[in-house]
């Protein structure tokens, strides 16, 4: 099993780690949301990778032939994309509220303000 043939999965891991790094290390809250988006993309990509078949046909009206890409993961991922969109929407509205309240989107600044309040 060469590593090259696993390339899609490696790309997957890279995206996941990139997203996680973004969530954990970035100061700006907006970039954290982007990080989560990247992580969600990696998860979606994972499912698509599972479904893929080399030289597979598109699974619409296969006329009894086999060798088509598995459709179920694609369907599941449609749902997952929608969930991701809703998630991002809520995250962004929270971010707007935080920005209005603290006048900043940077986590370090907000934590400073919280500490100075205590």
């Amino acid at each position: 099993m060469e590593l090259v043939s696993k390339f899609p999965y490696i790309a997957n891991c890279a995206l996941l780690i990139l997203g996680l790094w973004g969530v954990l290390s970035q100061d700006n809250l907006f970039k954290k949301i982007i990080g989560i988006n990247i992580m969600q993309s990696s998860a979606i990509l994972f499912f698509i990778n599972l479904a893929y078949l080399n030289d597979g046909r598109i699974p619409i009206d296969p006329k009894g032939e086999t060798g088509y890409i598995a459709p179920l993961p694609h369907v599941l991922m449609l749902t997952a994309i929608v969930v991701g969109v809703a998630f991002t929407a809520v995250a962004l509205s929270l971010l707007i509220k935080i920005n209005k309240g603290y006048r900043s989107s940077k986590e370090s600044v907000i934590l400073e303000k919280e500490k100075s309040k205590l």
Partner: protein
């Protein structure tokens, strides 16, 4: 048919958005909550709980279709959500709100949250669980973060944690699906030869559920989030939102037990993390001054007990602990919310005037405090009792010691609260500023603490061995 139960909440959510001045959102919400309550507790309630059946959505049977699977643990949680949801909505309705538009959306989102929580426990399918779990989280974010900026920031942290957890869950599901070709829990549990992919997948799923459940060491989002929640949500969110992942974890544990996937996680790590949560939560609670934060850390500690119960696969103890703790925390959080909103009591020191302003709530604190400490004949005692029995069966003496110690640790942080309430210098009664409508859900739940102490063990015993 079973799906009608969450469906009633969803329909109610839609109607709430359309509410106007005459038919307020509050009335719609409570009506639908009543319908849901009636559906859950109809007929021969105990027999309903024992019913097992599956129902494929749209007529498609598994593994092609989404299956709703009803079994005793899930149905118990559905009934619990229904009851607490009903009282939580009553409580939320009693707290006056500032803008009508917000009010409609608030009730709609709360109903949707409750419906999603019920649908989770009826699911038999990993992806279904993922969808409902994410939906419930999104609703929770919305209602927790809309009021103050501190609330918004705390909710944002919760959002990040839950977002990462959701992604991990999805990846885990992907691994399991890729290796086994099915997403259905019942079918996965009967696989003859689970390989490493399935174990890794479930490891990811379990980690994700632990993050959502706020088990030590993943609890970092909980104290701030619960400490800064708006008062209206205090009835609904703290009592049940973290219980849903616990129930799912429990169901997965029982299914996986059949072919021993990931056994070391359950047998070894989960009780250890639960014990850590109990000790850490109680110790941190001692240092806090704000009431809501104390209750948040107390929730961490009590959820640790639930985790111990799941790890040792004890049906009775875990279920009793989940039910008892939900009811107790509901009463406590609602009382604290009422005191903060109407009587301006936010910290322990300010509790000295509680008996003066509201003797009923003082009694609520006393009764719930004793239940948390595990004193008979309240419900908390039987939870600890059965947990100790099961840990003895597994010969895990460290866990036994931790469970017994939890009474002392609870007394450690709750004693200050009780002292300030009972030993007060003031004897004159002030006019009560807290409206009567708030008292009803709190008092009812408090009496449930006592009633459950007497009747619950028998009820749960009937479910034993059927999970």
């Amino acid at each position: 048919m079973i799906f009608a139960i969450p469906l009633s909440f969803f329909v109610g959510a839609v109607f709430c958005i359309l509410a106007n001045k005459k038919i307020t959102a509050k009335k719609i919400a409570i009506t639908f909550a009543l319908i849901n309550f009636a559906l859950c507790f109809q007929g021969n309630f105990v027999n309903n709980l024992l019913a097992k059946g599956s129902f494929g959505l749209g007529g498609w049977t598994p593994p092609y279709g989404i299956e709703f699977f009803a079994e005793p643990i899930g149905l118990t949680f559905v009934c619990l959500v229904s009851m607490i949801g009903f009282f939580g909505l009553m409580y939320a309705g009693a707290i006056p709100s500032k803008s009508k538009q917000n009010n409609n959306l608030f009730f709609a989102l709360t109903l949707f949250l409750l419906g999603a929580l019920q649908a989770i426990s009826l699911s038999g399918d990993l992806f279904n669980i993922y969808v409902w779990l994410e939906l419930s989280s999104i609703c929770a974010f919305a209602i927790m973060g809309y009021r103050t900026k501190e609330g918004a920031f705390a909710t944002f942290n919760y959002l990040l944690a839950a977002g990462v957890a959701g992604v991990i869950f999805l990846l885990g599901t992907g691994l399991v699906y890729g290796a086994s070709g099915t997403l259905n829990l019942a079918q996965i549990s009967t696989l003859p030869n689970p390989g490493q992919s399935i174990s890794s997948g479930f490891a990811l799923i379990i980690t994700s559920l632990l993050i959502k459940m706020a088990l030590t060491p993943f609890h970092f989002w909980l104290p701030d989030a619960y400490g800064n929640s708006p008062t209206k949500t205090l009835g609904v969110i703290p009592a049940i939102v973290t219980k849903a992942p616990a129930i799912i974890l429990f169901k997965i544990a029982l299914q996986l037990h059949q072919n021993q996937i990931n056994w070391i996680a359950f047998e070894f790590f989960l009780p250890l993390m639960g014990a850590g949560a109990v000790i850490y939560g109680s110790l941190m609670a001692v240092k806090q001054a704000k009431l809501k934060k104390i209750l948040a850390y107390s929730s961490i500690a009590q959820l640790g007990l639930v985790a111990i119960g799941i790890g040792i696969l004890d049906v009775k103890g875990t279920l009793i602990q989940i039910i008892a703790h939900s009811v107790v925390k509901f009463s406590l959080f609602c009382s604290v919310g009422a005191l903060e909103h109407f009587a301006n009591i936010k910290t322990i020191d300010e509790l000295k005037s509680t008996f003066q302003k509201s003797p009923i709530l003082s009694w609520v604190f006393i009764i719930c405090g004793f239940s948390l400490a595990g004193i008979p004949p309240f419900a908390g005692f039987f939870a600890k009792y059965y947990l100790v029995v099961s840990s003895l069966e597994k010969n895990n003496f460290f866990i036994v010691a931790v469970i017994l110690l939890s009474s002392l640790l609870t007394a450690g942080y709750f004693l200050k609260i009780l002292e300030n309430i009972v030993f007060t210098k003031y004897t004159k009664k002030l006019k009560s500023l807290i409206p009567k409508t708030i008292y009803f859900p709190i008092v009812f739940n408090c009496s449930l603490v006592i009633i459950f102490g007497i009747f619950l063990p028998k009820l749960i015993s009937a479910l034993e061995g059927l999970a």
